[in-house]
Assembly symmetry: C2
């Protein structure tokens, strides 16, 4: 079975994770979280979102977090940017990696970012012009690529069309997202099989959620299709299975452990990463959704593999 020798893990915990956690972290704890993630070898960290604090109160402190952050050479610190106000805030903060947020489903787009898909692309175009002027690297998220909570099935052709459109705008990477965690490996192959003849596979990231337990199976399917960029959230932060509306983020340690078990290099120190999860677990009440973290905690100090 041919698999890539190296995978880039994009850590989204401080953004996608904390965004959904009801227990907000302080600026100091968020900064410590991000610095520890960098120390554990995560090469790309999404640190927050320059969105309206009215809409996403949990991200209101992104400017303060970025200002307080000691940046580690070689680590890319990225942030979500919804519009021109957001990109100016990012520029002031010294962020050079930004991400746009689009969807494949009209209903999801309207409910999530309050814009039609066409309007969201009009916004992207304006933001991209500014991003290029500022020399920023831009990633695009494409949500609901494997199913929409409102519209149901999403045709792979639609994913291809919108991915192509994002790349045409100058986005360097598109995160094909399983927003509600409904994908199965067959779907991953179908969507990637539709994308592969049209876009460079190196420009495709997979953003998978473990809502129904299939995230790592979908990672495996993605690896077999040649994908080398995968998103994950430290500890599975934001994915608490008992919280209604939780997104079920794939946990970084679950991902890294499987990749290392497959002989795939990530540059991440798994033990150090588990230390970061411990740090965050202590701050949000003890439990994290990550299966690997739970197994590690249950066996720690017992000198056994379980």
């Amino acid at each position: 079975m041919r698999l890539p020798p190296h995978v880039t893990v994009v850590e989204v915990g401080p953004r996608d994770g904390l965004q959904h956690e009801s227990i907000g972290l302080s600026v100091a704890d968020t900064v410590a979280f991000i610095e520890r993630l960098g120390g554990a070898g995560l090469p790309v960290i999404e640190v927050g979102a320059f969105v309206s604090p009215k809409w996403v109160p949990s991200m209101a402190h992104t400017d303060a977090v970025v200002a307080a952050l000691s940046r580690r050479p070689g680590v890319r610190y990225a942030a979500l940017v919804p519009n021109l106000i957001g990109i100016e805030r990012a520029a002031v903060a010294g962020i050079t990696d930004i991400a746009l947020f689009g969807a494949t489903s009209e209903t999801f787009s309207r409910r999530n970012i309050n814009q039609s898909i066409a309007d969201s692309f009009a916004t992207f175009r304006v933001v991209m012009l500014r991003a290029h002027a500022l020399g920023m690297r831009v990633r695009g998220y494409l949500s609901t690529c494997f199913g929409c909570p409102y519209e149901g099935d999403v045709p792979p052709a639609r994913v291809v069309e919108l991915t192509r459109a994002l790349l045409d705008l100058g986005v360097v990477e598109v995160a094909i997202s399983d927003t509600i965690g409904v994908a199965t490996p067959g779907q991953v192959w179908r969507v990637l099989g539709a994308l592969a003849p049209v876009v460079p596979i190196g420009s495709i990231a997979l953003h998978l959620h473990d809502t129904r337990g299939a995230a790592l199976a979908n990672v495996l399917a993605g690896l077999q299709a040649g994908v080398t960029i995968f998103d994950a959230s430290c500890g599975g932060l934001g994915g608490c299975p008992y919280a209604p509306g939780a997104t079920g983020n794939l946990a970084t340690e679950d991902l890294v452990a499987m990749l290392h078990g497959l002989g795939i290099d990530t540059g991440v120190d798994l033990e150090a990463l588990l230390g970061v999860s411990t740090f965050i677990a202590d701050r949000i009440g003890g439990r994290l959704p990550s299966r690997y973290f739970q197994a590690w905690r249950a066996t720690a100090g017992r000198g056994e593999a379980w």
Copy 2:
């Protein structure tokens, strides 16, 4: 990607699941559990273990459960049998499908069944003679095939040797077991790659645990290697991630949902299965480890896919 068109799901919840649950089910509830599993289309159900009640108190009621059970035509009801006393109890109960329990690691074998591997095979030989005289179908479990909590790595050659030995005794199926949930897909391919030239792939079942979140990825790897028999536990029963020593059983609904998503037939009615999980969740305090079940419960009645 070539995958088998049909998979046999072996439901181990009433045995492997309840064995580890601290909250014991009554005989009546266990019987109702098993009958509902049959009603949901599970073709093989492990109903209990004819082991010493001194060693496994939670299985003490297996004789009573089997006696009270209304059996559904076409469903195989199986039970664990450790020795001659066990097989006589199985015969009296009218059980014709039994399972032996062996390990690849000496330390695990001694701690789990209080016998060396050689001694366990001596026992198997005696039990097999009686099983053949009684016309029983015998499955063999081989635990710790992907790692032992005491001895660490297990060479694939050892798995092959012991699988071969079990088949030579007349066992018709060997459940290659990831007892502590440490397998990764690379290991699954290595172990199955070592087995495939030596034993018929149709005689191999995979018994995977989701302790570290990789069970469905390992199922996918197994499917790609031609395995068509997978064990799982309704609701993930026995695998509560917060219970120390919990085994992390792969949940039947997580498995069935992925298989159906891959277009693989199982004969299982997923909605009916979720009803069985609801029944069991109500009896053991509300929560079950299954990710699919949790997502289904969180969205039930909201008219959305999440």
